[in-house]
């Protein structure tokens, strides 16, 4: 699966899609592949505040639970409620319909510190090499 060119990425395999001062956040194709079939998602409530670098929710497969880390700080303006009934969207459409939350950025400058597509693709290539070493 291609990694959208206009997104930014974190080392914990989250992506951010900024439109104005609102950022959509999700987990990448690499992350969903590592996790396996998603069975449950725990998301923060609309109105709550998340802090860059801290966890804001979890994504669960049958055998594992992954913490999701906030790539940037902000207030949650929307949560993707459709995931309650169809968590598999995270597997089938991780960069699109599988988005997790949308936040109003508290500090838009935080985004510039994240990896662009090329850097992220290089990062996951090195991760895979390590895993099979």
């Amino acid at each position: 699966m291609a990694y959208p060119a206009n997104y930014r990425y974190t080392k914990e395999h989250e992506w951010v899609d900024v439109k104005g001062d609102v950022a959509a956040i999700g987990i990448t194709d690499y992350a969903q592949h590592e996790l396996g079939d998603v069975v449950f998602v725990e998301l923060p409530k609309v109105g709550s505040k998340i802090e860059a670098g801290k966890t804001f929710g979890t994504v669960e497969s049958v055998k594992a639970v992954s913490d999701i880390y906030a790539p940037a700080s902000g207030e949650v303006v929307e949560a993707n409620d459709v995931l309650h009934n169809t968590p598999e969207k995270i597997n089938t459409d991780p960069h699109g319909g599988g988005w997790l939350i949308k936040i109003r950025l508290a500090n838009p400058a935080e985004i510039s510190g994240l990896m662009d597509t090329a850097a992220y693709e290089a990062y996951i290539a090195s991760q895979s090499k390590e895993a099979s070493a």
């Binding site: 449950f40 669960e60 497969s61 055998k63 594992a64 639970v65």
Partner: protein, 448 residues
């Protein structure tokens, strides 16, 4: 040794195959000075006959030949030999936890049936595959309420089993929970006024037992309403499950913690028993313990698997809902077999016999001068009486007549000196009740 399937020759061959000179070679990673040079000083070895003789001798030093009127959280009920015939089958007895579902469908389906029976009994939507016992189930229910509400104050009925309260205290100490007791009123039920004044928006749970430790039946609806109006959850503890044959299930409770010992498990000096936590579907992800779910295989057949395992310690590790690993599977299986044997009518009939015999016993005891019923509220198979003298002394007299008398309440409840908790089940014969009343009458006639 009869449990070891090796001949000396085979041991020798296997060592040779490994390339070891002696078995000691295989322990070389243990520093020499810590390796035992002598055999452990243990009794034995005993042949099978000698093992049996040893335990028979111990059995003879216990309470054989006595009648008993003890309940207080452990109950004598009829059990069918069919239950043992099933749970003694090697495929149930010696099977492992059903993590490999394809070869443990027997255990998994039986647990699914157990979970269903527990829901039917308690009026709740989901039940787990058992916890160690009622006392730890109650504690786990409280911890679950804490997780669900984010609050730390717990209001516990003083009429909750004293040992259950002790266990809760042990766990609460290290979880930062504040446990407060709510007393009981003159009729033996929870003091609702005290409850209302204690309820604030920092209470996670109100914990009530019904029938309570005094045998008295609590009405849960007003307690549930009170709890809910403050945003707290109602936890209902049940120590005598047979009562559910004739009593309304605690459907108003948010979480139920039940001891299932009454359903086919021998008293066995206190264990092993089987606790259950039952609750609403919406709370299931905060439930502790194993859960079995129905699913299909790759060819569409119905099957069962352990599920929602991400709550548990082997995945969540430090963030688990509980540290529990084993459950009480074989006990839960015995409960399942027992309840299917009793069935709908059998459970009702058993409950009715309990109620009838307890009512009869009370009416006989009330005829004895000086014996007073302590609490006016309805009871099931246990009731509290007040005597004109020390229960301990009366029980000593009863003991000489080979009767194990009622539970002394004064130790755990200093305000209830000279009070005793009498338990009568379907196993207590009329003759035993009559004799108990006669001997008690004589005991009270003795000079002080």
């Amino acid at each position: 040794m009869r449990y070891l399937p090796k001949s000396p020759a085979e041991r020798k061959d296997m060592l040779a195959a490994i390339g070891a000179k002696s078995i000691d070679d295989l322990f070389s990673s243990i520093p020499e000075r810590y390796r035992l040079r002598e055999a452990l000083k243990l009794p034995g070895p005993l042949s099978e006959t000698e093992v049996i003789d040893f335990f028979k001798a111990r059995a003879a030093e216990n309470s054989g030949g006595y009648s008993s009127f003890l309940g207080a959280g452990v109950y004598n009920h009829l059990r069918s030999v069919v239950t043992d015939a099933i749970i003694q089958r090697g495929e149930f007895l010696t099977s492992y936890t059903p993590y490999q579902a394809e070869i443990t469908q027997g255990t998994l389906q039986a647990i699914f049936e157990f979970q269903t029976l527990m829901c039917q009994l308690t009026g709740q939507e989901v039940a787990n595959a058992s916890m160690y016992d009622g006392s730890t189930a109650t504690t786990e229910a409280v911890l679950m309420a804490e997780r669900l509400t984010g609050r730390r104050r717990i209001l516990v009925a003083r009429s909750l089993h004293p040992e259950y309260r002790d266990v809760l205290k042990t766990y609460a100490k290290n979880s930062g929970l504040h446990v407060e007791e709510i007393g009981y009123g003159a009729n033996g039920t929870l003091d609702q006024k005290a409850l209302h004044s204690a309820l604030k928006d920092d209470v996670a749970a109100v914990v009530v037992q019904s029938p309570n430790f005094f045998g008295v039946i609590e009405s849960l609806s007003p307690l549930a309403d009170a709890a809910h109006s403050s945003g707290a959850l109602l936890v209902a503890a049940i120590t005598e499950g047979v009562s559910l044959g004739l009593l309304n299930p605690p459907a108003e409770a948010d979480i139920v913690a039940m001891e299932a010992q009454s359903f086919g498990l021998a008293p066995s000096y206190g264990g092993p028993f089987a606790g259950v936590v039952a609750s609403r579907d919406k709370f299931v992800r905060q439930m502790p313990g194993r859960l079995t779910g129905q699913t299909t295989d790759s060819e569409g057949r119905r099957g069962f698997v352990l599920t929602l395992a991400t709550r548990e310690q082997h995945i969540r590790r430090e963030k688990a809902t509980s540290n529990i690993c084993t459950n009480q599977a074989l006990c839960a299986l015995a409960v399942t077999v027992h309840l299917t044997l009793l069935g709908k009518e059998g459970l009702r009939e058993m409950a009715h016999q309990n109620l009838s015999k307890a009512q009869f016993a009370l009416s006989e005891l009330e005829k004895i001068p000086g014996v007073r019923r302590a609490f006016a509220a309805p009871f099931f198979n246990e009731f509290t009486i007040e005597l004109p003298r020390s229960v301990k002394i009366v029980n000593a007299y009863l003991l000489r007549e080979k009767i194990i008398g009622p539970f002394v309440l004064g130790t755990a409840y200093p305000e209830l000196t000279k009070h005793a908790l009498v338990c009568v089940t379907e196993t207590t014969t009329r003759a035993e009740i009559d004799r108990f009343a006669a001997v008690l009458r004589r005991a009270l006639e003795q000079p002080l």
